[in-house]
Symmetry: D2
C-alpha cells in the first residue's frame, strides 16, 4: 500500500511518519512540507526518520492509496478534495470534517466550510466506535485529541444509561504542550512552561467542545438525550499526553460495579482500550508513546446528592489522540489487523 | 520577637526559615531537626539559609514568643502542648488542629486526637477569614495547601448565596510535587514524575476534604447549608504551586458580574488575594514564591441547565499554602502589618 | 531462543524486558525480581510490559539459552557463576566483569572479586569493537553507560594516532537521572532535580574511569600508549540520555577532515553509530529511545597551542548505554542480525 | 535615586525591574518597552511587578540618575550615547561595551561599533574586580553571563600563577534556557527542550570567548600571559542558572590547598562569592534567584601529566549573570552598600 503525508514537520506529521516507516503494510511515497521541502525530515525534527521532504506543488497522486493530512484546518479540506477526486483515500487529522454540520463548522471556525458536500460522507474515526463505517471509507475525520480522551469512556456510559437525566458532565482535561503545535509561541516556550500550569478556553469555548457533544449525540443515537459538557483544557508542562478527569453524575441504580461493567463490556476485546483494576489510577506513564487509552473509575457519594462517577482517561495526544489513531483507522479502512504497526 | 521552627529540614520548614530570617520583626532562636541536628540548614537544603540545626531534646522554651510546627501530625500536637504550657504561642502547620471535632479527626487520621481539649480554642488560620480571632491567639491551625486554594474563592461565594441549592461543587486540584514532602519516595522521584501526571485520592477520600467541608460550613455560618465537595487532587510535574479548578453551579440570578462582585467585595483590600480581570486566566507563574492567591472566574451556560461558574485559583503550596500563610498569621497574632516579611 | 532477566524492576531491567518482548528471536521465559515477585512488571513499572515477576529462588535454568543480569555488582557475579555452570550464556549489565583485573576491581569496588577466574574470558561488549569475540561467547560484560559514550568516539581516534602524545583527554559527561537507578533517593527526587544541575565524582574518582582507561588501552592495542582521562559526570535534569563532551588535543597533522575520516571509516557500515555532518551538533533528541550513538566533531585552534578536537557524543543511557547494547550483544552472540529488535 | 530600565519585557529586564522595585535606594521612574508600551509589565510577564511600560520615544532623561539597558547590542550603544550626553549614568547589560577594542567588536558582532570613543572609558563591571573604577563611573559594561561564571574563579587563579605555562583552559558551560532570551524560537520551545540537551557554538566561536580572554588578560595585568580558553556552551533544560566546569592544568607546586588559598584569599570578604568546603560540589540550587557565585574545587593527578584543577562555578544567569550584578554595580557606582536590594 502506498501512502503520503501532507504536513510532515509538525509534531503530528513527524510522529505519523515515524509510525508509517515502521509499518509493514505501507510504503511511504512522499512527505510534503511547505517549510522543509528539499531537506530530510531528520534534519528538521531531531530523531525523526530520514525521509526526504517535498513541496506541495511537486506532488503526484498517481499510485497513491492513502494520504494523511496534518495540515491546518481549511488547507486540509482543500487538499482533501484534490486527493478524493484522484481516488486517493484521505485520513484527515485536521478539524475540517469532524463536525457534520457546515453551520456548526462556520460558527466555530469562523469560515465557510470549503466542501460541505463531503461532510455527511466523512467517517468520524473514533476507531472503536467506527468499525461499521471504516472499511473502504473514502474520507476519515480523525478525532481531536481531547475528544478521543473524553469520548472513549463516555460513549459506553451514556449508551448504558449511566448518566443521570439532566446532568451536566464536567471534563477537566490536561494536555501536554505538543498539543499546541510546533510553531514557536511565547506561551509554549520552555521558560514560560517549565514550572507553570494554567487553564485556557474555559467552559464552553474550546473548539473541541462541539465536536465532543455532536459526536457523542451521534454515537449514542437518537433515543438517548446526550448530556451537555463543560470542558476546561489545561496546559500541562509535559511534552506529550492528555489526562481527562470526568465528573459524571450517575443515574439511580448505577454504582461502581455497574459502570465498570458498562466499560469492560464495551472494551473487553479492544487491544487499545484498558480499564484499570479497581483502585488503580491511570497516569500518563501508562500510555505515552503507545496507542493505548487507559481508563480508571471511582464513584463517591456526596451527602444528599446523586452518586458521582469520576473517570480518569489517559492517552498520548500524538498517538491515540492523532497519529496512532490515524494509522489504526488506515488499518481498518484497508482491512489490516488494527494493531499493525502500533504499540498497544 | 523570638521564634523557633520545629521540623526545619522539610520543604515547609526550610521555606519558613527562609522567610523568618528575612523578617524584620523576628529573631529565629533555633531550628529543630531530628535528622539534621548538629549541621547547618544550608548543608541539608541547598540554597537554604545558614542556620544551625538542633535536636528536639536540646530545646528551651525560655524567652520564646512563637513556635512554628512543621512536624508530622500527631508529633505536632504533642509538641504544641508542651509549648502552650510554657506560654509560647504556636502556629501549627500540621493537620492536628484543623478539624474542630476529635471524632472527625480520629476517623480521618486513624488515631485518637492527643489533646481534644485544645481543638475548640485553636484558630483556623485562613488569615483573610480569621481576623477577628487571630490577635493574641495561642494556637493557630495553619490551613492545608489544597483547602487554602479552595476556600479563599468559595467562602465569599457561598456567603453571597451564589451556589445553587443542592449543588455539589467539584474541586479538581493540581499540586506541585513538594506537596508530597521531602522524604524520598518512588512516586516522587524525578524519573517517575517528569513527563507524568495522575490523580490520586479521588472523590471524597483525601484528608483535606473534611477540612474543606467543615471549615467552609463554619466560615459561612449556620444560616447557609454549605454545599458538599468532590475533590480530586492530581500530582503536577512542577516543584511548587497548586491550581484548583472549581465547578460551581450557580443559584438563579447569579451571573459572572454578580460573582465577580462577591469576590472583589470580599477581597478589595486584601494584599494577598487578587481577582484577575475578566478573560484572564491565573497561572502558577502568577503566584510561585509569593504569598499571593490569584483567582479567575468564568461562567458558562450549558443548554437546559444551571449556569456553571468555573473558578481557577492558584497559590504557591509552600508559601500561601503553608509557610507564607504561617508568617501572615504570626503577623496577625502579634499585631504586625500582615505583609511584613512577605512577597505580595 | 529462550531468555531470562534477573533484576527486572529497575530502569535497566524493565527497559530490557520491553525490548525482549518485542524481539522476534527471543522468548522471555521469566523475569526475576526480589521485590516484585508475584506481581506483574506492568504493575511495578507503569507502561512496562505485562510480564509476571518471579522470585530468584524459584528459578530454573533448564532450557535457558541466555540470561541478562541487571543486578547490583557482586550479586551479578554470583548469579553469573550459577548460570554459566548450567551452560547458560550470560550478558551481565553490572560492573562485575568489565575490569579484566581482580586487583583493579577490588580497588574500585571495595571487595574481592567473587570469581577472578572468569575475568579473562569475559568479552567486553562494546559491540562495534567486540565482533571477533562475541559469537558464541559465554560471558559478556556489557559496558557502562558513560564508557559507551566515551569509547565509541575515542577508540578510532586513538587507533588513528590522532591524539597528541602526552595529552590528557577531558571527558565532561552529563547523564539523565535514570542512570542513578530506581531506588528513591533524596538527590534524585523530583523537587531536588527539577531546575537543578551539578557535577559529582569529579576528576578521577568515578568507577567508570578505570573501565574507560583499561578498555581503551586494551582496544587500541599495545603499540599505542593510551592517553589518561579526566572524567567529570554531571546529573542532568532529564529522565534519560548521556551527552559526553570530549576535549582531545590533536597530534600534529590532524585536522577536522582527518579526524572525521578516522571516525567515518570506522563506523561507515555501523547501523547504530552516526557521525553527524560538519556543523551539526548532536542532541539527546537524536538518540533517546534508540540504540544509536550520535557523534559530532569540531576542531578549534587556540593561539600558540595544539589544535583541540571537541567531540560530542550522545546515547540513551538505558538503550545503547545498557539494555539496547545488551540485546545487540545477544544478537551478535547468537548470530542474529545485530539490528534485530532494536531501533536504529 | 531615580532609575529607568530600557528593554523591560525580556527576561533580564523584568528580573531587573523586580529587583529595583524592592531596592530601598531606587525609585524606578519608567520602564521602556517597544512591544509592551501602554501595558503593565505584570500583564506581559506573569508574576512580574505591576509597572507601567512606556514607549522609547516618550522618554525624558530629566532627573534620571541611572539607566539600565537591557537592549540588543547596537541599540544599546545608541541609547547609551543619548543618556550619557544628558548626564545619566548608564549600566549596559548588552555586549556593546564589553570588548575594549572596536576592531575586536567589529570582528565578533559583524558591525562597526557605534561609539568607539566610549570603549576606553567603560568600566567592565565584574564587580568584585572593578571596585577601583566603579565609584562615579559614567558607563558600566555589565559582564556576560558565561564570562561572570568563568572569570570569577579564573582571575584569582591566574593572578596567583596557578595555571601551568602554555596551558589551555577548557570551560565546559551549561546554561538555562532563559539565557537565550524571551523571543519564541523553535530550539527554545518546551517540547524541543524538555528531556533534551546539546552543545552549541563549540570551541572558539561564541561571542563570550573574546570577552573572557580579553577581560582576563586585562584583569590579571601585563606581567602574566593569560591562558587561551576553549569554551563550549550547552543548553540545559532548566529555566535559569549556569554551571561552568573548568579544567585548569596546574603550574608545578600548586595543589588543592594552594588553589583554595588563592580563591579564599581573594573572596574572603565578598558577600556574593562562596568557595564551598572541600568535597562539596556546587549545584544550581545553591545560587538560583540569588546574586551568589558558588565555586567548588577538585584536583586530580592523571598519570605522567600535570595535575588538573577542576573548578565548578555556579551562578543564576539572570541575577549574578545579569540583573543582580547590574544592581550590585549600581550600588558600587553610587556608594551604597553593595548588598543593598540583593539576596546573598
Amino acid at each position: 500500500m502506498h501512502g503520503a503525508v501532507y504536513g510532515a514537520t509538525g509534531y503530528t506529521g513527524s510522529e505519523l511518519i515515524g509510525l508509517l516507516v515502521r509499518h509493514p503494510g505501507v510504503e511511504l511515497r512522499f512527505a510534503v512540507s511547505s517549510s522543509g521541502a528539499g531537506r530530510s525530515l531528520a534534519d528538521v525534527v531531531p530523531g525523526a526518520p530520514d525521509v526526504p521532504l517535498v513541496a506541495a506543488d511537486a506532488v503526484l497522486t498517481d499510485g497513491l492509496d492513502v494520504a494523511f493530512l496534518c495540515l491546518p484546518h481549511g488547507a486540509a479540506a482543500e487538499t482533501a478534495l484534490r486527493l478524493l477526486d484522484a481516488g486517493v483515500r484521505v485520513i484527515d487529522l485536521s478539524a475540517d470534517f469532524r463536525l457534520p454540520d457546515a453551520d456548526l463548522y462556520a460558527a466555530w471556525y469562523n469560515r465557510a466550510h470549503p466542501s460541505p458536500a463531503h461532510l455527511a460522507g466523512a467517517v468520524y474515526g473514533l476507531t472503536e466506535h467506527a468499525r461499521g463505517a471504516l472499511p473502504r471509507a473514502s474520507l476519515v475525520a480523525n478525532p481531536g485529541c481531547y475528544p478521543t480522551s473524553v469520548l472513549l469512556p463516555l460513549v459506553p456510559l451514556v449508551r448504558a444509561g449511566a448518566v443521570a437525566t439532566g446532568a451536566v458532565i464536567v471534563a477537566d482535561s490536561k494536555s501536554g504542550i505538543s498539543g499546541a503545535g510546533r510553531v514557536p509561541l511565547l506561551h509554549t516556550s520552555f521558560v514560560e512552561v517549565a514550572g507553570n500550569f494554567k487553564a485556557y478556553s474555559v467552559g464552553r469555548s474550546h473548539r473541541h467542545l462541539p465536536e465532543m457533544e455532536v459526536q457523542l449525540a451521534r454515537l449514542v443515537g437518537r433515543s438517548i438525550a446526550p448530556p451537555p459538557l463543560i470542558f476546561t483544557p489545561h496546559l500541562l508542562p509535559v511534552p506529550r499526553g492528555i489526562l481527562s478527569t470526568l465528573y459524571v453524575p450517575l443515574a439511580p441504580g448505577f454504582d461502581l460495579a455497574a459502570v465498570r461493567t458498562a466499560l469492560t463490556d464495551a472494551y473487553a476485546a479492544e487491544p487499545f482500550v484498558t480499564v484499570l483494576p479497581p483502585g488503580e489510577q491511570v497516569q500518563l506513564a501508562h500510555v505515552v508513546r503507545t496507542n493505548r487509552c487507559a481508563i480508571s473509575l471511582e464513584v463517591c457519594q456526596p451527602p444528599d446528592s446523586a452518586a458521582m462517577l469520576i473517570v480518569t482517561s489517559a492517552i498520548d495526544n500524538l498517538v491515540k489522540g492523532a497519529a496512532g489513531q490515524a494509522v489504526q483507522n488506515m488499518n481498518a479502512v484497508f482491512g489490516l489487523p488494527e494493531t499493525t504497526g502500533l504499540l498497544g
